[in-house]
């Protein structure tokens, strides 16, 4: 079946078998291997990508054909213009990753969360991330990172600076 998908702003036209899972389509047809597969039961969330800017989807539990006509964001699409996304920066700053395998999914779930919640507290973040498993970090630094990123992203971008005092 022929599908047209926009991934990280780029349009792709591909012929896929209906049974091709979205995760493998992204990884193998498009070469975007940042999206990982860690289980067979929609449990681990390593494969989370974002549909249409705000919906986190486990791409191992969706078929590639379902992405036809949609805009998908994967971890590779977070950094813009050579600059890390605030979430990426925060995960790095806060030691929010160890082996890195769950990280893309964590980032994308957080990305979808922050599209709905501008200033989530610790409890909200812990709740929102509960569909993503991590075996390394114990989540604490991930939660910290999401909080930092939220602050960064939603800080008033052009807050009035104090006037320079004439000397």
């Amino acid at each position: 079946m022929n599908i047209t998908v926009t991934v990280n702003g780029k349009r792709y036209q591909r012929d896929v078998e209906p049974r091709t899972l979205l995760a493998y389509f992204l990884r193998e047809s498009l070469g975007l291997t940042g999206t990982h597969v860690g289980c067979d039961t929609s449990s681990c969330g390593c494969c989370v990508v974002v549909f249409d800017g705000d919906r986190a989807v486990k791409s191992c539990t969706a078929f590639a054909v379902q992405a036809d006509g949609h805009e998908i964001t994967t971890v590779e699409g977070l950094a813009q213009g050579g600059k890390l996304h605030p979430l990426q920066q925060a995960f790095w700053d806060c030691h929010g990753l160890q082996c890195g395998f769950c990280t893309p999914g964590m980032l994308m779930t957080s990305y979808a969360l922050l599209s709905h919640e501008t200033n989530p507290d610790e409890a909200q973040i812990r709740e929102a991330l509960a569909g993503n498993l991590c075996r390394c970090t114990g989540y604490q630094n991930i939660v910290k990172a999401v909080q930092q990123a939220a602050g960064e992203m939603h800080a008033p971008a052009s807050a009035p600076q104090p006037e320079p005092v004439a000397s």
Partner: protein, 785 residues
């Protein structure tokens, strides 16, 4: 409240909270894990598994599978036998294991056949159609039933028994006598359940036999690439120079990626036969059902003590369930690993432990899951035992521990079971923990709550580990000594490449190894590239598991750096126009004694090493060091858990958890904290939810993440951490290793806390995992008793 670990003195690169150098690629989705590697023309392998735990293989019909579009080949145990690959040796060399079933299936999900096809989907389509006729046999699921030898599982072995080995250490007669003479005596059967490391990245391999060069490249999720190269060579007869093992980025290991699995071997055999690369990536079900499990120790723990609480004797008798093959990952001379650490942090005059291991119709393994070879089981046994003793004595568990700790001045402390503990100040560390958590106030609160009928518990675990295997006089794996190595090359402009025989799986070696070298060499850690996992380039080492990397490779890095420094001193002397003996290394620079302003930096020396070497000296600046540790290291800690128990539903709320760790010198406090958070979370999971259970028919009941429960951010408690620093006296930088301490020490703290909460009901012991139902049942039985 969380206290951060701060370096004790200003250092150049050691003890610094340096952000990780490996992270930029991971946060941008540019890591390179096994399944990310695609080779041209690559085929895919899918495995066929036995639904029976014990059955004769009557017939395997490949024809339907071979008829599937895209299926290239189907391999069975008999096909492998033709290549001498039907069986491979297990980790420590005592036993062998089937690659694919030969004659019999010995556990449910055992690999029966492999289907190789042009796509993943076609391989699975084919696997579904391999028609295997089984003749079911009665399974033996319980190790105590296996002991009866009514059904012999392994008819391939000379001895027709399910008993694998007996192991013991210590003084039996003296211990029995001391136990008999003790005023107070506790005894309990404590089971450390079968669990599984379940790293998020499954295991996998790509075998690429190049028929033109005769060279086999094996990309593997390997925690020990060199050891695997040697094993592959020994098993296949392919010369070791013709084998290239590459372990790419690894998505967590925790011991799971130490053994050699069927998929690796079948992929390799297929590639050798076909001359085409073959990829195998296991499913989560395969990971949980076929690859190395951990624990499954059934321990009878006995402690004797005087009336005032001074311990006199410890005896632990264990039955170990090893599954269908003795594939336990232990050093060859230590079939029960370092279980001898079971006397823990306490000064026992008499101790004895013995263990008998049995085959059952379960998956093989017994790997060191975030654990230094059975140290977790031992720590759990002693820490639960001490809690039971405190209860029996009606003594505060903290007080009992303080009374019996090995004292600071006793180090180096020879333990009754044969270790020499390197360093520690157990009193200081526990006191810090009690202080930080506000122990006295918590006990007051508990008393008030108990008066109201509420169940609150405080649990302590003050464990000691033995890690860093190990000294070559004791530790080897199939004869290969357990040293580790480092090679450092300083480039002309003062940057460097550092290679080690270890292999990070998330521990952050690219950062911490650079920090050690940078500290020793005065270089910028950002410009020391660390490379591991490629057997063509890295020096030989035994890999990363059992908290051995820092004690062995970490030491090798320091020693290789010092070798470079010694060479550099000659060049510095040349540059400073001074005698070599007059040149000293101070503040990360060379200077002439008595002339502190006359200095050269390591960068300047490096440049000179290539552009202006001293006369009659070898150009270049590099060194290799193979470090054979003189002893193990003995990290320790004091953990305190505070829980509230809902007696109606059995729900346990971990209200607080404080971990004070002492891993000696800290390389990167941020990384250490991260390791502790992660290890505590795994300990929490084991204490409350994780188990690989088999039913009475030998069915594995926990075959994927809907049943093998990994806690999420919502269940996981908030961790409080801090540390004390007691450097290892024998390690070049005083570091001890830390990755496993929290997983070793925490289960007992959780269980002790829950048992403390249930104390008013008279409950003394419940085996892990402490599920709601078990707690509910304990509360209910107490209520009706």
């Amino acid at each position: 409240m969380s206290t951060t670990i701060e370096p004790e003195a200003e250092k150049h690169a050691m003890g610094v909270r340096m952000k990780r150098k490996e992270d930029p690629r991971f946060i941008q989705g540019r890591g390179r894990y096994l399944d990310d590697i695609v080779l041209p023309g690559m085929l895919y392998l899918a495995l066929v598994h036995s639904p029976y735990p014990h059955a004769k293989i009557v017939k395997i019909d490949k024809s339907s599978a071979l008829a599937v579009d895209g299926v290239v080949a189907v391999l069975t145990g008999e096909d492998l036998a033709a290549h001498g690959l039907a069986w491979i040796p297990t980790f420590h060399g005592y036993d062998k294991q089937m690659v694919l079933c030969v004659g019999k299936a010995l556990y449910q999900y055992q690999e029966v056949a492999g289907v190789i096809a042009t796509s993943r989907e076609a391989a699975v389509d084919g696997a579904e159609l391999v028609d295997v006729e089984y003749d079911p046999l009665d399974p033996v699921v319980d190790p105590f039933a296996a002991r009866e030898d009514k059904i012999i599982l392994r008819d391939d072995r000379e001895n027709k028994t399910n008993h694998i080995y007996h192991w013991e250490v210590g003084k039996r007669a003296e211990t029995d006598a001391a136990l008999a003479a003790s005023d107070v005596h506790v005894k309990e059967r404590i089971v450390f359940q079968r669990c599984h490391p379940a790293p998020l990245e499954p295991c996998g391999a790509i075998a690429d036999m190049n028929p033109a060069t005769g060279r086999l490249t094996l990309y593997m999720t390997s925690q020990a690439p060199h050891a695997h190269r040697t094993v592959v060579s020994l098993v296949t007869g392919i010369p070791e120079d013709k084998i290239h093992v590459v372990s790419p980025d690894i998505g967590g290991g925790f011991g799971n990626k130490v053994p050699v699995y069927a998929g690796y071997v079948v992929a390799a055999a297929a590639s050798v036969v076909l001359g085409i690369p073959v990829k195998w990536v296991e499913t989560r079900t395969e990971n949980l059902t076929c690859t190395g499990f951990a624990r499954d120790y059934h321990m009878d723990v006995e402690i004797g003590a005087s009336k005032d609480g001074a311990v006199t004797a410890l005896k632990v008798t264990t039955v170990a369930d090893h599954g269908a093959f003795d594939a336990a990952a232990d050093p060859t001379k230590y079939p029960a690993g370092l279980f001898g650490i079971v006397t823990g942090s306490y000064d026992f005059a008499n101790a004895f432990t013995e263990l008998d291991a049995y085959f059952t119709n379960k998956a093989p393994g017994g790997i060191a899951y975030r654990c230094s070879f059975r140290v977790t089981e031992a720590s759990f046994a002693i820490e639960r035992g001490m809690e039971l003793l405190a209860r029996k004595l009606n003594m505060d568990p903290a007080e009992l521990r303080l009374k019996n700790f090995v004292k600071k001045e006793q180090f180096p402390y020879p333990s009754p079971l044969g270790f020499v503990y390197d360093s520690g100040d157990y009193h200081m560390t526990l006191r810090k923990a009690l202080d930080m958590i506000g122990y006295d106030d918590l006990r007051k609160e508990q008393a008030e709550k108990r008066a109201r009928g509420e169940l609150m518990g405080i649990g302590i675990s003050t464990f000691t580990e033995a890690v860093g295997a190990g000294p070559s006089k004791h530790f080897d794996i199939m004869g290969i000594k357990m040293f580790d190595s480092a090679e450092i090359r300083v480039h002309p402009t003062g940057s460097a490449i550092l290679r080690a025989g270890t292999k990070s799986q998330g521990q952050g070696h690219e950062t911490t190894w650079a920090q050690i070298a940078a500290e020793e060499l005065g270089l910028d850690p950002q410009n020391i590239m660390v490379e591991e996992g490629d057997t063509d380039t890295a020096p030989y080492g035994l890999g990363t598991y059992a908290s051995r990397s820092t004690p062995t490779a970490g030491a090798a890095i320091a020693m290789a750096s010092r070798k470079i420094r010694e060479r550099a001193r000659k060049i510095a002397a040349h540059l400073l126009e001074a005698a070599e003996d007059d040149v000293e290394w101070v503040d990360y620079k060379f200077r002439v004694k008595g002339v502190p302003e006359n200095t050269v930096t390591m960068q300047e020396v490096a440049f000179a090493a290539y552009t202006n070497p001293a006369p009659n000296t070898e150009p270049g600046l590099e060194a290799t060091f193979y470090y054979d540790p003189p002893n193990l290291t003995f990290p320790y800690g004091a953990y305190i858990a505070v829980v509230d128990v809902d007696r109606e539903t059995g729900f346990v709320k971990v209200r607080r958890f404080l971990a004070i760790d002492d891993c000696g010198t800290v390389i990167n406090p941020m990384v250490v904290e991260g390791q502790i958070h992660g290890g505590l979370t795994e300990g929490f999971a084991i204490a409350f939810m994780q188990e690989i259970r088999y039913d009475e028919n030998g069915n594995n009941l926990n075959t994927n993440f809907t049943e093998y429960l990994v806690p999420t951010s919502l269940e996981t408690p908030h961790w409080e951490t801090s540390n004390t620093i007691t450097p290892s006296p024998h390690h070049p930088i005083g570091a001890k290793g830390v990755g496993e301490s929290p997983n070793v020490g925490s289960p007992a703290a959780f269980v002790n806390a829950v048992m403390d909460a249930l104390a008013p009901l008279g409950v003394t012991h419940v085996d892990m995992p402490l599920t709601r139902e078990k707690i509910w049942r304990a509360c209910r039985q107490a209520a009706t008793a």
